[in-house]
Structures are given as structure tokens and as C-alpha cells.
């Protein structure tokens, strides 16, 4: 069964295209001439869709928007970056796929608009005293989009499938806290040994190896979503095609035209369908940010995935109400390769290089989107966690520079014999600008001779992980879940993502303690200690905390900024325009 929704064009309605061939030629000539004068925005011709303003939001006593203020058409059009690789929740990777999967599926837990973890398919749960056993009580009315009931057994099947190395899920590591997951993932134990059990039709028990305070947030990740067993067995690799895909979220897949659009429509069998206002969501893969911006300006999108990096000023002036910039749980930093000269056993040299960087200059003059200068690895915004700032964070940049110069000279470098290094980054306009800023700051303050090397993504990744060519390299991390551990674990000795060659036995033992600690305050202190230890060894150059930046049509409401940047369409709704409601007789 494929529910169909029709896709009306958004306002403004297209006017008829009347120009004849000669007219078109003249206009074309004009375009070419205009192009020569550069892209300018005459104030007189503001984009046609900007004139419309939404009506004020009214809420019913239940907290839902009053039907009177809602637009007639409740279909949201969202720009969504790249084409998702697949919509099989266990195989999907990347932010674009995750956005769509959050609408199609629902895990045991879900998220509120502000990012709080709230009950999903599980109505409530119990945690054992040792924090190692969770019992989930499923909603009796939870169902698949084809009407089949959703039972605890479905989760057992799905979690086993997700962990099974034969499924080859890249995000199976998200299940690592579950008992026996490590052995299952390594192919040493059968998927049936995974610590997941259906106690009865609606009760699910999950046993963990260590108390994992962030475990509930893992249950909102696509690797833990349930899949419909009969469909998986029937369709295999064709599971996520329209018509085949059976899901349990607020929406269901109704069309997928590769690299064109993915259309979702209401899932009437969703347990909370009564509170879902949207009739449909259309996701467009728009890799080019300027193309996406033009689509937004012509009124084809309510929500963009990103905005062009170099147009902050212009957007701020022309779209002050639409431009939304908000901190993201993601750190942008550079790394040192500590297994290669000159950075083996030279913490003071690394410190000098870290100190000599004026982060505020970079965020204000280079990246410009309101990124927060950062002195730590873990970005702010994770619950009660507060990173311990290194001492130099309090200093002025002049003091930092002076100390940097002293350390640099102490490391034996002089003006005549400066440090010569390569800064390596993956090709992107932003990385290039930041790397250039770093190189020139180092040259200015210390006299370092840095050369920039840009590499295509896959080449860069390989060089970074082999660690044979790299010296200073671009890095960064987006938290998989709202817990500092997502950032800290990368620096464990021998961790697959430890491209820095950082190895410290004290740090490793702190990581172990963090994993086993179940008292939140003690765990937080351990994590602060680990982060402090890490930063004091200077394996990385913290630069800034990422922001998410997008344009949102003011008609679209029901969403809130959150550090995870998770925005479920089921919370969203469209307000009517003032022109739609206001009477036509107001003109004198």
C-alpha cells in the first residue's frame, strides 16, 4: 500500500511564461550583461515570497496549535544535503539519512523538539540499581505502517540484525554497551547471544556490560531502530524502496526519486498520529548551497540544510527572520601527529603552536557565522558537563603570544632556522581559509614556515590514519550522542580514530573508569580529569565549536534549536499567512 500525497507548488504561484522567442533573447542578453555587473540585489524587487508573514501562533488548552491558525497545506519541504545512501536504518550513515530516518522510524526512545530524551515506542522503562539492566515497557498501540503490531520480539530481531557482522552496519559500534556486543561485532559470538531479551510481548530487557549513562540517547539512533522482519526477509537489499519499506515512525515512505526527492506521508498507524499535524514531508538532496538558497528564495523550501559559507553578511541583512544559527555538538580542531617529527616528545613546541592561534580572530574574521572560539575538545551544551578550561584561556592573546614565543625559542627554533611544517586538510573552502589563517598567525607570531596541503577526502582520511605523511592536520568531531565520552574515547591508545598517536596509560585507565562509573557526578569529574589530561598534552589545537546554520520559513513552527541538531518533522506545523486570513477590504 502506498499512500500518495500530491505535491502542490508552494507560493508564489508561477506566473505564465508569456515571453516569446525574441523577448527571451533580449532577456538573455540582459542576463549576460547583468552577470558582468555582478549579482546585486535591488531593494525594490525583494523576493516575492518574503512579503508574506505568518499569523501569530495560538495554542489550544492542550498545548497544540489552534486549527484556525494552521495553513491549509501541511506539507513541509526540507533541503537535505546529499542523497542518502540508503534508508535501511541499520545500514544508513550520514546526517541526511539520519534526518529522514527520524521521521520514518521510532526507537524505544525519542526526542522532544529541544532535544530532551522522551519515551518513544517504550512508554516507560526501569533501570536496575547497578545501571546494567534496562527493562522497557512498550506501548500496546505501537504498530507498523502496514498495521502489524510492534512487539518486543521486533526489537530483539532488529538489535541482533544491527549488531550482526553479516549485516555489515557501520554504526553497529553504537550497540557496543550492550552485553556481548563486542564479541558479536567481532564475529566471535552468535548474534543470538546479544544481551537483548523479550520478557513478554510488550516487555523488552536489555543488559549492558557497563552502566552507560548515555544509553537512552543511543536508543534514538538509527542503528537501534526496529525493522520489519517480514519485509527484511522478503526484500533484502531492496528493503528501503517505496512500496517495500514498512516503518513505525510518524511518516511512511511514499516516493523516492534518486537524487531528486524523497516524499514521506503521514503514517495513520503511528500511535501518536492524532498529534501529528503535517500530512507530508518532502526531502530534497541539494548538495550545492547556493542552489539550495535560490530554491529557498523562490519559495520552494521551508527549511534549508545549510547556507553558503561566504554569504553571512548578506543573509543577515536580507533574511534576518529566516536565518537561524545555533551551537552544535561538534568541535572543529586541528591535530598533531605525535608519532612523527617534529612532534614526538615535544609538548612545549605543540603548546607554543596552540597558544599562538588567535581563535577569536578566526571565528570573527574567517568563519564569521558566530562559531564559538574553543579551548577544549568537548563542545559546550552537554547537560551538566563543564569542561575545565586550560589556564591560557584566561590570558589575553598578547600574553599567549609572548608565552608561545618563549616556548618556541626554548624548543630551539630561531628566525634563521624556523620550524617548517605542513598543514594538511581535506579540500573545502572553509578548511582552506582556516588553515591559511593558522599558517599566517604562526608566521606572524613565531616565524614558522608552514605550507598548506589540501587533499581529496578519501586520500586525506587514509593519510591521516596511516600517520606517515601527516604533521598538522585538520580534524573535527560531531558527537554521536550527547555525552563527552563520544569525544574522549577517540584518544584512547589504539582507538581506530586516534590519528594523533596520543597514548597515555593514565588516560586509558581514566577511560576505563568512566565506562564503569555509574554515579553521574563522579563520572563527570572523571571525564573532566581525562579531558584536562588530554589538553595538557596538546595533541590537538582546539579552534571553535561548530554552529548549525540554515534558513527557516517563519511559517514553519514547532521546532526548537538543540545541540544535536535533531529536528523531527512530527513536531512541526505550518502557520497560515496573514494575507490568507486578512480580509481583502482593508485598502482605502
Amino acid at each position: 500500500m502506498r499512500p500518495q500525497i500530491d505535491l502542490p507548488r508552494l507560493q508564489p504561484q508561477r506566473r505564465s511564461f508569456l515571453t516569446g522567442a525574441p523577448g527571451a533573447l533580449v532577456v538573455l542578453v540582459l542576463c549576460v550583461l547583468l552577470a558582468a555587473c555582478g549579482e546585486r540585489d535591488p531593494d525594490a524587487s525583494r523576493d516575492s515570497n518574503q512579503a508574506k508573514r505568518p499569523v501569530p501562533l495560538l495554542l489550544t488548552p492542550e498545548g497544540q496549535p489552534d486549527p484556525a491558525v494552521l495553513a491549509e497545506q501541511q506539507v513541509v519541504h526540507r533541503g537535505n544535503g546529499e542523497e542518502p545512501q540508503t534508508l535501511d536504518p541499520h545500514l544508513a550513515e550520514g546526517v541526511p539519512a539520519a534526518n529522514i530516518l527520524r521521521d520514518l522510524y521510532e526507537g524505544l526512545m525519542s526526542e522532544a523538539p529541544d532535544g530532551r530524551i522522551v519515551p518513544g515506542v517504550a512508554m516507560r522503562y526501569n533501570m536496575s540499581r547497578d545501571g546494567r539492566t534496562y527493562t522497557f515497557y512498550l506501548r500496546r498501540d505501537a504498530a507498523w505502517s502496514n498495521g502489524d503490531p510492534l512487539r518486543a520480539e521486533d526489537f530483539v530481531y532488529s538489535l541482533r540484525r544491527s549488531a550482526d557482522p553479516a549485516t555489515a552496519s557501520k554504526f553497529a559500534t553504537m550497540l557496543m554497551p550492550i552485553e556481548n556486543a563486542e564479541q558479536v561485532l567481532a564475529g566471535l559470538a552468535a548474534p543470538e547471544t546479544l544481551g537483548v531479551e523479550a520478557l513478554d510481548e510488550y516487555t523488552l530487557q536489555i543488559r549492558l556490560t557497563d552502566p552507560t549513562p548515555y544509553f537512552l540517547s543511543l536508543l534514538t539512533h538509527s542503528a537501534t531502530y526496529p525493522v520489519h522482519r517480514a519485509s527484511v526477509e522478503e526484500f533484502g537489499a531492496r528493503l528501503s524502496r517505496p512500496g517495500n519499506l514498512v516503518s513505525n515512525g510518524a511518516f511512511v515512505l511514499s516516493d523516492w526519486v534518486v537524487r531528486s526527492r524523497i516524499v514521506l506521508s503521514r503514517n495513520e498507524n503511528y500511535w501518536d498520529a492524532a498529534n501529528t499535524i503535517l500530512d507530508g514531508v518532502v526531502y530534497y538532496p541539494l548538495e550545492d548551497q547556493s542552489a539550495e538558497l535560490k530554491k529557498f528564495r523562490s519559495g520552494d523550501l521551508h527549511w534549508t540544510y545549510d547556507v553558503p559559507n561566504n554569504q553571512f553578511r548578506w543573509l543577515q541583512e536580507n533574511y534576518p527572520d529566516e536565518l537561524v544559527v545555533s551551537p552544535w555538538l561538534a568541535s572543529y580542531f586541528f591535530g598533531f601527529n605525535m608519532t612523527r617529527e617534529p612532534f614526538i616528545a615535544s609538548p612545549r613546541l605543540r603548546e607554543a603552536l596552540v597558544l599562538a592561534i588567535d581563535r577569536e580572530l578566526i571565528t570573527e574574521k574567517v568563519t564569521q557565522f558566530g562559531e564559538q572560539p574553543s579551548f577544549t575538545l568537548v563542545p559546550p551544551g552537554i547537560g551538566d558537563y563543564q569542561s575545565m578550561l586550560p589556564g591560557y584561556a584566561e590570558w589575553t592573546q598578547e600574553e599567549r603570544n609572548a608565552e608561545a614565543q618563549r616556548l618556541y625559542a626554548a624548543a630551539g627554533y630561531t628566525e634563521a632556522d624556523p620550524l617548517r611544517i605542513e598543514i594538511r586538510y581535506n579540500t573545502s573552502e572553509n578548511n582552506k581559509k582556516v588553515a591559511l589563517a593558522i599558517a599566517s598567525l604562526w608566521k606572524q607570531v613565531l616565524g614558522v614556515q608552514a605550507t598548506l596541503v589540501n587533499e581529496e577526502w578519501k586520500v586525506f582520511l587514509q593519510n591521516r590514519s596511516q600517520g606517515v605523511l601527516t604533521q598538522v592536520f585538520r580534524a573535527g568531531w560531531v558527537g554521536d550522542y550527547a555525552d563527552p565520552y563520544s569525544f574522549l574515547q577517540m584518544f584512547g591508545s589504539g582507538h581506530g580514530q586516534n590519528d594523533y598517536g596520543f597514548s597515555n596509560s593514565l588516560y586509558d585507565s581514566l577511560l576505563e573508569q568512566i565506562a564503569e562509573e555509574r554515579i553521574p557526578a563522579r563520572r563527570r569529574r572523571l571525564m573532566q580529569e581525562a579531558e584536562r589530561l588530554l589538553l595538557e598534552a596538546f595533541p590537538i589545537i582546539p579552534i571553535y565549536t561548530y554552529v548549525t546554520k540554515r534558513l527557516v520559513d517563519p511559517h514553519l513552527r514547532g521546532w526548537e534549536n538543540n545541540v544535536m541538531d535533531h529536528h523531527y518533522s512530527k513536531h512541526m506545523f505550518l502557520l497560515a499567512s496573514q494575507s490568507e486570513n486578512a480580509s481583502a477590504g482593508t485598502t482605502p
Binding site: 532577456v27 547583468l34 545512501q85 524502496r241 523562490s298 582520511l461
Partner: protein, 314 residues
């Protein structure tokens, strides 16, 4: 032997020649994409060894390279390009089958528009040599050749979609509205190039002896141009049309990106960046076959238009 038989024999011989060319193409591309550093499953997130091994086994990447090569050749023989590594739900055949009609429509319309307008403008300019129309049209043609499409496309979108609201700012839904701007963007340089080619060759032909003869016979000017001058003047345009058509109907990366069109062009770039070996191989082979066929077609058209080129002697 008749002219026609010679033509067919020539076509047959050329088709046989396709096989070694394609084999060479497949071999070179197969090994080149694998030499490139980084693999299809590399990502910033480290993979557990067992999962990586399973991924490699699923796509036969764990086999020796030579074995992979012959396995691939065997697949190509039955026109199976295998599953895409990147777009996991789709096979390369399906991706080409979805993307090619779009590229064919946009590119085909562009080349048609380019051909018709380019020829007309070129002929008109040649007939008015060194007069106002000649200078104006050739001036614009020069502009058309030199302004890149990544400049023209955004300007067109800004004017017709953002300000005027007549046409969509991008996307593809099989309506004429969504085709207008990309087709114009692609056609502009083709119009310009063909107009210049056509003008040059027309002027040359108009100065040749047989035209003078035709005029001396007292034929009306219209007939001189349409019957005698047009055909030979078309030849240089024709040899440009082969590769140009192949390039346009397999999709332009730039135009597809700017207009968000789901054509074939982006797969070349995306496939290569993602190390999606099967996708790269699939589109390269497809493109190879297409360009060989179009060149063959141009050659055959040549012999129909130019009596000096005949294939009896081959």
C-alpha cells in the same frame, strides 16, 4: 560494389573495432580507480575489523585484483554493472536507467536547440558577411563561448525563478518548466560555437568554384545556398556534433549541481569521490559506448553528405 553496401561494411568493421577499444577502456579504468588512495568504505569513523571484512567480502573486494577484474569482465558481458557501493539500495544499471533519460532529455533538447539556432545564425551571418548582423551575432557568439555556464546558470535562476517566479529554481519533475533553464544554459555555448563554425565554413564554401559555377548557371541565390552550399558547409559542424552530443546527453556536472537535476553527469564525480568503483566503471563504459556510437553515426552521415568520402575502396 554499391555505395550502400560499402557503407554497411564500413559500419560493421567499425563496430568490430569497438570491442578492443572498450576492453582497453575497462582495463585502464578498472585499475586506475583501484590505484587511487582510499577505499569505498573508508570513513572518519573507524570500522570494527570484522565488519570491514564482511563489507569487502560482500563486494568481492577481498579477492585478488586479477580475479576481481575477470569477474567484472564476465558481468559486463551480460550487461550487469553490479550494485553501487554508495547507493546501497540500487544497482548501477538502475541508477543509469534513472539518470540517463533525464540527461538525454536535457542534453538532447540543448543540442537540438543549439543546432537549429546555431546553424540559422551562422548562415545568416555568413550571408551578411561584415555587415551589422554579422558583427552583432558573432559578438554575442564570442560572449556565449567565453562565459562559463556556472555564471550563466545562477543569473538565469535569479532572474526567472527568484525575481520573476516564472520557473522553478531547480529540481526536476518531468515538466517543461523544470527543463527550460537548464536547457538554455547548456544550449548557449553550443549555439555560439556552432554559429561560429557554420559562419566560417559557409563563407569558405560560398567562395569556392562550384558555387561560382552554380551562380553563373543563373540559379536563384536561394537554391545556390540551400542545395549547393549548405551541405558541404555543414561538415565541420557535423564532426563537432558527435562528441558534443555525447557530452551533453550524459549530463553536465556543473549544470546538474546548480539546477539539482538527477542526471548521469554527477555520478562521474560522486562515484569517483566516493570510490564507488562499480558506479564509476558503469558510467564510464556507458559513456564510452555512447561516444563510439555517436562518432560512428557522424562518420556515416559524413559519407552521405560528402560525395568525396566513399567506402567502396575499403
Amino acid at each position: 560494389m554499391s555505395v550502400k553496401q560499402g557503407l554497411w561494411r564500413h559500419a560493421g568493421q567499425r563496430l568490430l573495432g569497438v570491442v578492443p577499444t572498450l576492453l582497453l577502456l575497462i582495463t585502464v579504468v578498472f585499475f586506475l580507480v583501484r590505484i587511487a588512495p582510499g577505499g569505498p568504505f573508508d570513513s572518519e569513523k573507524a570500522l570494527p575489523a570484522e565488519i570491514e571484512a564482511n563489507l569487502n567480502a560482500r563486494y568481492h573486494l577481498d579477492e585478488p585484483l586479477v580475479q576481481q577484474y575477470f569477474r567484472y569482465l564476465g558481468q559486463v558481458l551480460v550487461f550487469d554493472f553490479g550494485p553501487s557501493f554508495q547507493y546501497k539500495d540500487w544497482t548501477v544499471n538502475e541508477l543509469i536507467a534513472q539518470g540517463f533519460p533525464v540527461s538525454l532529455t536535457v542534453g538532447g533538447l540543448a543540442i537540438l536547440l543549439g543546432f537549429v539556432i546555431g546553424i540559422s545564425v551562422g548562415v545568416a551571418a555568413a550571408l551578411q558577411q561584415n555587415k551589422a548582423w554579422d558583427f552583432t551575432s558573432m559578438g554575442f557568439a564570442m560572449l556565449g563561448v567565453s562565459i562559463p555556464n556556472f555564471v550563466i546558470a545562477p543569473v538565469l535562476i535569479l532572474l526567472f525563478a527568484v525575481y520573476a517566479g516564472w520557473l522553478p529554481a531547480g529540481g526536476w519533475d518531468w515538466t517543461w518548466q523544470s527543463a527550460v533553464l537548464p536547457v538554455i544554459t547548456l544550449a548557449l555555448p553550443v549555439i555560439a560555437y556552432i554559429a561560429r563554425l557554420m559562419r566560417g565554413s559557409m563563407i569558405e564554401v560560398l567562395h569556392s568554384d562550384f558555387i561560382r559555377t552554380a551562380r553563373a548557371k543563373g540559379l536563384p541565390e536561394r537554391q545556390v545556398i540551400l542545395r549547393h552550399a549548405f551541405k558541404p558547409a555543414l561538415l565541420p559542424v557535423l564532426s563537432y556534433m558527435g562528441p558534443a552530443t555525447a557530452a551533453l546527453i550524459t549530463g553536465s556536472v556543473v549544470v546538474e549541481r546548480i539546477f539539482s537535476i538527477p542526471g548521469l553527469g554527477s555520478y562521474f564525480v560522486q562515484g569517483a569521490l566516493n570510490r564507488d568503483y562499480t558506479l564509476v566503471m558503469g558510467v564510464v563504459i556507458f559513456y564510452g559506448v555512447l561516444i563510439i556510437m555517436l562518432n560512428l553515426l557522424v562518420d556515416l552521415l559524413y559519407s552521405l553528405l560528402d560525395p568525396k568520402i566513399r567506402y567502396e575502396e575499403l
